[in-house]
C-alpha cells in the first residue's frame, strides 16, 4: 500500500470511528471493575462475619458448664448458681406446660438460655449481678433481659427466665400480630399488682373521647382504642374530642413544613389557645395521630384473652391464621365483646388503694424526732 493510500485509509477510519462506542466500552469496563470490587469486599465481609461468630461462640461457650434441663426448658449456668437456677427452671417449665402447650415448648426448645454471674459498673464501683442471655448459638441474642442483683432469689431468677419465655412465645408469629402487641412478648405470667394498678391509672386518666366511651360501656370503642378493630373515619375524629387536643399535642407536633400549623401548635401549648389547638390537631396526618392507649393496655387485654381461653389459648393464638381479631377471638374461645367486658371489669378491680401511712413509718419519724431532740438537750460542749 502506497503512502497516499495509507493516509486516505487512516482518514476514512478516523471519520467512521465511533467514539461513543469506545466511551461506552470503557464505561462498561469500569462498571464491571466496580462489580468485581463489590464481590471481593463481600467475600471479605462474609469471612469477617464468620470470624465474629467464632469469637463470640468461643467467649460464650466457655462460661457455663452446668446444664439444667426440665421439659422443653434447657439452661446453661455455673455450679454455684445451679440450686437457684434449677428451682427456677422447674417453675418455668410448669408455666410452659400449663400456659403454652406444644407450640410454646417447641419455641422454647430452640433456645438455650444462659444464666451467669457478671458485674455492672455503678458510680461507686462494680455491682455483682446475674446476667441472662437467650442464646448461645447466634451472633446476637434474639432477646434481651436486664441483669438482676446477684443475691436474687430463685423466684426472681424464675421471673427473669419467664420473661424470656414470653419473648420466645412471639417468635415465628406473623408480623401483623407482632406489630399489634408492640412489646415483643406474649404475657404468660400473671399480672403484678403494680402492673394492674398502672393499667387502671392509664385507662382512667388518658384524655380521649373514645376511651371515655369505652369506659361508659361502648365495646366497639374499646376494641378501636385497643387497635383490634378500626371504626370508620379518621383517627383524630374517632379517638379525640376538641377538649383532648391540648393533651394530644403534647405528644405529637405538626410537620415543620406546615408553618401555620406549627405556629398554632406553639400557641396551643404556651397560651392554651383552644382554636389554635384545633388548627394544630386537624393538621396532623392521620398516621401521626397517636393511639390513646399504650402497649401496656394491649398486654393487659391479651392477658385477659389468654385467661379467658384457658389451657390451649396460646396454642390457638399462634396457630390461627387471619386478622388480629380472628386470632384473639379463637384464642379466647368466646366473642371479643365478652372479653372486653371481662377486661373492663378487671381494670375496675385494679384500682390502686390510697397510699396508707405504715405504722413503721410513724414509729421511725417519731423515733428520729425524739433522738434529735434528745441529742440537742443533752449536749454540753460549746460550739465556739
Amino acid at each position: 500500500m502506497s503512502d497516499a493510500r495509507l493516509v486516505v485509509a487512516l482518514m476514512a477510519a478516523a471519520l467512521t470511528f465511533d467514539a461513543a462506542s469506545l466511551r461506552g466500552q470503557t464505561s462498561t469496563l469500569a462498571i464491571d471493575s466496580l462489580l468485581r470490587r463489590v464481590h471481593t469486599l463481600d467475600s471479605s465481609l462474609i469471612v469477617r462475619s464468620r470470624a465474629l461468630d467464632s469469637v463470640r461462640r468461643s467467649l460464650i461457650r466457655a462460661v457455663p458448664p452446668v446444664d439444667v434441663r426440665r421439659g422443653a426448658m434447657q439452661v446453661r449456668t455455673t455450679a454455684d448458681l445451679e440450686p437457684r437456677v434449677r428451682t427456677a427452671v422447674d417453675s418455668v417449665a410448669v408455666l410452659i406446660e400449663r400456659r403454652g402447650g406444644a407450640s410454646l415448648a417447641a419455641r422454647v426448645a430452640a433456645h438455650v438460655p444462659l444464666v451467669a454471674r457478671d458485674s455492672t459498673r455503678s458510680i461507686f464501683g462494680a455491682v455483682p449481678v446475674l446476667s441472662f442471655a437467650s442464646d448461645t448459638s447466634g451472633r446476637w441474642p434474639s432477646t434481651t433481659h436486664r441483669p438482676i442483683p446477684a443475691s436474687a432469689t430463685s423466684a426472681e431468677v424464675a421471673d427473669a427466665l419467664a420473661g424470656m419465655v414470653e419473648q420466645f412465645a412471639l417468635q415465628g408469629v406473623d408480623s401483623a400480630f407482632g406489630a399489634w402487641i408492640m412489646v415483643g412478648r406474649v404475657p404468660l405470667r400473671p399480672a403484678r399488682p403494680s402492673e394492674a394498678a398502672d393499667g387502671y391509672i392509664e385507662i382512667m386518666t388518658a384524655e380521649s373521647a373514645a376511651l371515655r366511651r369505652c369506659q361508659s360501656g361502648d365495646k366497639e370503642s374499646c376494641l378501636d382504642v385497643l387497635g383490634v378493630d378500626s371504626l370508620p373515619g379518621a383517627r383524630l375524629a374517632r379517638w379525640y374530642a376538641p377538649q383532648d387536643y391540648r393533651t394530644l399535642l403534647r405528644a405529637v407536633a405538626p410537620a415543620r413544613e406546615d408553618s401555620a400549623a406549627v405556629a398554632a401548635w406553639v400557641r396551643c401549648r404556651e397560651d392554651r389557645d383552644e382554636p389554635a389547638c384545633v388548627v394544630a390537631a386537624t393538621s396532623l396526618a392521620n398516621d401521626r395521630v397517636p393511639t390513646p392507649l399504650s402497649a401496656t393496655a394491649r398486654v393487659t387485654f391479651l392477658r385477659e384473652v389468654l385467661e379467658a381461653g384457658g389451657a390451649n389459648a396460646y396454642e390457638r393464638l399462634v396457630t390461627t391464621d387471619g386478622s388480629v381479631r380472628t386470632r384473639l377471638t379463637e384464642a379466647a374461645g368466646m366473642p371479643l365483646d365478652t372479653v372486653v367486658g371481662r377486661w373492663r371489669a378487671r381494670i375496675s378491680e385494679s384500682r390502686p388503694e390510697r397510699m396508707r401511712l405504715r405504722p413503721g413509718l410513724i414509729v421511725a419519724s417519731l423515733g428520729w424526732t425524739g433522738a434529735l431532740l434528745g441529742l440537742a438537750l443533752i449536749r454540753r460542749g460549746p460550739w465556739a
Binding site: S27, D42, L52, F124, A260, V262, A263, L377, G381, W383
Partner: protein, 391 residues
C-alpha cells in the same frame, strides 16, 4: 477536747476531700447502657466487621452510581436541554405517572428553572447483586426499597449538568407511589434555578459535601424546630454560632477554609454522587452532617426564601469567597445572617446565670447574724429556756 465550729468545719472539709480523692475523676468509659461491655477480642472483631460492612456498602453505592451514570449517558444527545428524561425502557403508563410527579416538583422551583444545568433522569433497574457466597440469613447487598434517588453533581456527569438519577426497582403502582414521597430535585434544584455556581461558592460546597444545599424546596414555608431538644444536635461550632461568638457561624459552615477543602483531585466520578439517605458517611465529598444540626441542609433554601431568588442567584454565581459573595449579594454578612437563622430555628441561647445585687445584700446581712447565733453557747440558751423550767 470539745467540738468547736472550726473543728467541725475542718472535719467536714477533710471528709469531703477524702471522698473526692477516692472517687474523682469518674471513670471516663463509664457504661452508658445496662448491658455489660463486650470483651476486648469481641470488640476488636466487631470493629473489623463494621469496617468491612462499611467498605462493602460504599462499593455497592459506587457501583449503582456508575450504572446510573452510564444509563444516563447512553442515548443522550449533546443538545438535550430537557428537564425530565425518562428512559425508553420505562413502560408508557408508568412513564406518564413518573413524569407528572417529576413535573410537579420541577415546577415548584419557579419560572427560572431550566434544563440547561440540571435534569431528572428516570430508569428502571430491578437487578440484584448476588452475594459472594450462599449463607443462610445473609441480607441482600442492596437495601430494600422501591426507588433509589441520588444526585450526580456536574463533576460526575458532563461538567455542566447536575442529574437526579431515579432508579425505579419495578413498575408497580407501589413504586410510583414511593416516588411521590421522594425529593427529585434535591441539590440539583439549585443548578436548575440558578445555573452553575461560581468558583468560590462551588469550592465551598464541594469542600463541605454540599451539605447546606441538599434541599431545594424553597416554595415551602418552614416553622422553627418543633423539638426543643433540637439545639442539642448542634456541634461545637454550631453552639458557638448560636451563642453569637464572632466568626463562629462562618466556621460552622466550613466557609472560612473553603479553598483548602476543595481539593478534588483524588475523587472519582461516582464520588460526586450524593445519596441523601446515607447521612453519616454519605460520600467521599465529606461528612454530610455538619455543625448546625439536622436543619443544615435547609440553609441555602432558607436564604432563597428569605432574601429573594434574584439576589441569591448573584450569590450563587459569584466567583468570590462565600462570605464576600454573601455580603455583596445581600448586604449583610454570612455570619450574622446565619446566626439569626439558627436563633430563629432553634430559639436563642438562655442567658447565663448572674449574681444579683439583692442576693449579695441579703447574704451580707444574714451571714454575720448566723455566725453570731452559732457562736453563742448553746448550753446556756437551752438551759435557760428548756431545762431551767425544771429547776
Amino acid at each position: 477536747m470539745g467540738m468547736t465550729m472550726m473543728r467541725w468545719s475542718a472535719a467536714v472539709i477533710a471528709g469531703c476531700a477524702v471522698v473526692a480523692v477516692a472517687l474523682l475523676p469518674f471513670p471516663p468509659n463509664a457504661a452508658l447502657w445496662w448491658a455489660g461491655a463486650a470483651p476486648a477480642p469481641l470488640v476488636a472483631e466487631m470493629a473489623r466487621f463494621r469496617d468491612a460492612a462499611q467498605a462493602t456498602e460504599q462499593a455497592v453505592r459506587a457501583y449503582r452510581a456508575a450504572q446510573g451514570l452510564e444509563r444516563w449517558s447512553v442515548g443522550r444527545r449533546e443538545s438535550d436541554t430537557s428537564s425530565i428524561r425518562i428512559d425508553d425502557r420505562v413502560p408508557g403508563n408508568v412513564a406518564d405517572a413518573v413524569r407528572q410527579v417529576a413535573n410537579e416538583q420541577w415546577t415548584a422551583l419557579g419560572a427560572s428553572a431550566s434544563g440547561l444545568n440540571a435534569q431528572i433522569f428516570v430508569y428502571v433497574d430491578s437487578t440484584t447483586i448476588p452475594r459472594a457466597a450462599v449463607v443462610t440469613g445473609l441480607r441482600p447487598l442492596d437495601p430494600r426499597r422501591f426507588v433509589d434517588v441520588v444526585f450526580a453533581l456536574p463533576e460526575a456527569t458532563d461538567g455542566a449538568h447536575c442529574v437526579t438519577l431515579v432508579r425505579l426497582r419495578g413498575v408497580s403502582p407501589a413504586h410510583v407511589e414511593a416516588l411521590r414521597r421522594q425529593s427529585l430535585v434535591g441539590v440539583c434544584g439549585f443548578f436548575a434555578a440558578f445555573g452553575m455556581p461560581g468558583r468560590g461558592v462551588r469550592a465551598w460546597l464541594a469542600g463541605t459535601g454540599y451539605r447546606t444545599a441538599r434541599r431545594s424546596d424553597w416554595h415551602v414555608a418552614r416553622a422553627p424546630a418543633v423539638d426543643a431538644a433540637g439545639a442539642y444536635g448542634l456541634g461545637d461550632a454550631g453552639g458557638r454560632c448560636l451563642t453569637s461568638q464572632p466568626g463562629a457561624c462562618v466556621e460552622a459552615l466550613g466557609a472560612a477554609d473553603a479553598a483548602a477543602r476543595a481539593d478534588s483531585r483524588t475523587l472519582r466520578s461516582y464520588d460526586w454522587v450524593i445519596d441523601g439517605t446515607f447521612l453519616p458517611t454519605a460520600s467521599a465529598l465529606g461528612a454530610s452532617r455538619g455543625a448546625l444540626g439536622e436543619i443544615e441542609p435547609e440553609l441555602l433554601l432558607s436564604a432563597v426564601r428569605e432574601l429573594g431568588a434574584d439576589r441569591f442567584g448573584n450569590f450563587w454565581r459569584s466567583a468570590e469567597s462565600p462570605a464576600a459573595a454573601f455580603e455583596s449579594a445581600f448586604g449583610t454578612s454570612l455570619d450574622s445572617w446565619t446566626h439569626a437563622w439558627v436563633v430563629r430555628t432553634y430559639g436563642g441561647a438562655a442567658d447565663r446565670p448572674t449574681i444579683r445585687m439583692r442576693d449579695v445584700v441579703w447574704l451580707a446581712l444574714a451571714l454575720p447574724l448566723l455566725v453570731a447565733m452559732a457562736a453563742r453557747r448553746r448550753e446556756r440558751l437551752l438551759s435557760e429556756r428548756l431545762l431551767g423550767a425544771r429547776a
